[in-house]
């Protein structure tokens, strides 16, 4: 039998707990002499059981020791030969204490290093989390803003007073379109500028209301590169009758009178 097979067989454990038969016992003692590994394993098992027994020890009455020592000192067959091996040996307790304190010191150092690393890592994680949180907060704010304006837009469209006026593309921009929401109760004019063409940066779209046959400035449409054009914009208020709305391309900031050949869209409110 190989040493490893002996060790893993479980026989050594049975031997140490006094469970082997006399044949097995002889066999195991032979193995232990033959294989140092088996002897070492057996010693470790026995040490374990010894500690187990020590943990379950019960102090006997002092009289037991007295009786035993009486027997021993009555033993006259042999005389005591003093030993020299005892001197100068460090007491086992101090050996253990020293070993234990070294082990403690080393483990504490290891723990410190690992804790330090952990703290460092945790701080980094916290930093990252805070950054993520901040950026989330920001996009949340942005969402809130766009949500608010969307709500506003919806209000303009859904209001029972809002009267839609469709503006259709003209010669300069035949595919252009715009929609006006004219609030009949307040006269407020809103425009959905999403389908209006982009204009050069030095130009701007200007809304006109035709009142009594004359064009009246109704406000500038913001078409910044940031996409504000998409938003429904509030224009000037007209409570009197408006025959038509039109949008022309004008110089930045607007013109007092429309440039007629630069008309982009035009549309009439439904006749009352």
């Amino acid at each position: 039998m190989q040493a490893n097979d002996i060790i893993s067989s479980g026989l050594l454990e049975l031997y140490a707990t006094g469970l082997t038969s006399s044949e097995e016992t002889v066999q195991i003692q032979q193995w232990a002499k033959l294989h140092p590994e088996v002897a070492a394993e057996l010693a470790a098992i026995e040490k374990g059981l010894e500690s187990y027994a020590q943990a379950h020890a019960i102090l006997p009455a002092p009289s037991v020791k007295t009786k035993i020592l009486a027997h021993v000192s009555a033993d006259k067959k042999v005389k005591v030969i003093p030993l020299h091996t005892r001197v100068n040996s460090v007491a086992p307790f101090w050996k253990y204490a020293a070993a234990a304190s070294i082990i403690l010191f080393i483990s504490s150092a290891i723990i410190n290093v690992s804790l330090y690393n952990k703290v460092d890592e945790t701080a980094k994680n916290l930093d990252q989390t805070q950054q993520t949180l901040a950026s989330l907060q920001q996009s949340n704010d942005e969402m809130k803003g766009s949500n608010e304006s969307m709500k506003e837009d919806m209000h303009v469209i859904q209001s029972k007073y809002s009267e839609p006026v469709v503006l259709n593309g003209m010669g300069v921009a035949p595919t252009a379109a715009a929609k006006i929401f004219w609030m009949k109760n307040t006269g407020e004019v809103y425009i959905d500028a999403s389908n209006l063409p982009d204009v050069p940066t030095d130009k701007q779209l200007q809304l006109w209301a035709i009142v009594d046959g004359k064009p009246v400035d109704a406000g500038m449409i913001i078409t910044s590169s940031s996409g504000a054009k998409l938003k429904i914009q509030k224009m000037k208020t007209f409570s009197s009758a408006v025959q038509a709305f039109a949008i022309t391309i004008e110089k930045k900031g607007g013109s007092p009178a429309p440039t007629m050949d630069q008309m982009v869209v035009m549309g009439k409110p439904p006749t009352l």
Partner: protein, 180 residues
Amino acid sequence: MELVKKYTEEELILSLRQRDQQAFSYLYDNYAPALNGVIFRMVEEKELAEDILQEAFIKIWDNFHQYDITKGRLFTWMINLARNLTIDTLRSKNYKKQQKISADENSVSNLSNNYSGAERFDTIGLRKNLENLKPEQRIIINLAYFSGYTQDEIAKEIGIPLGTVKTRMRTAIIELRKML
């Protein structure tokens, strides 16, 4: 405080072979409580246990030349001697093994609370660690070690096949060794 010499196991064995009574006194102080614990759990009677303990130590002294260091540790030899002596005593006195002790591991741990000796071992810390042993692991060790059960009896007591006792015991002792 009385100055007590400490021995390594080798020193102790060497001294006992030289019939050193001081060494024997040391041996008693360090191992008698553990042996007494084992014997007591087998007989369940304080006075009887102490009688057997006394007899065991006298045998240890008288027959120390029989101890063969190549066959195992000193404590193993002593505990086997004590256990065999206990079994013989129980048989001769027509005692019946009380299954209660072995199966009920609580009685074992309760008893251990009475103990206050063996300064060589950190018994308090060890006992705390041993609480981590699974009950089935504690029971199989107790049955063999504290009750002197045979493999057959252990198999019947726990309700496992005879062949399993070996592997169970090995697992239990491996776990025990981890706790030291």
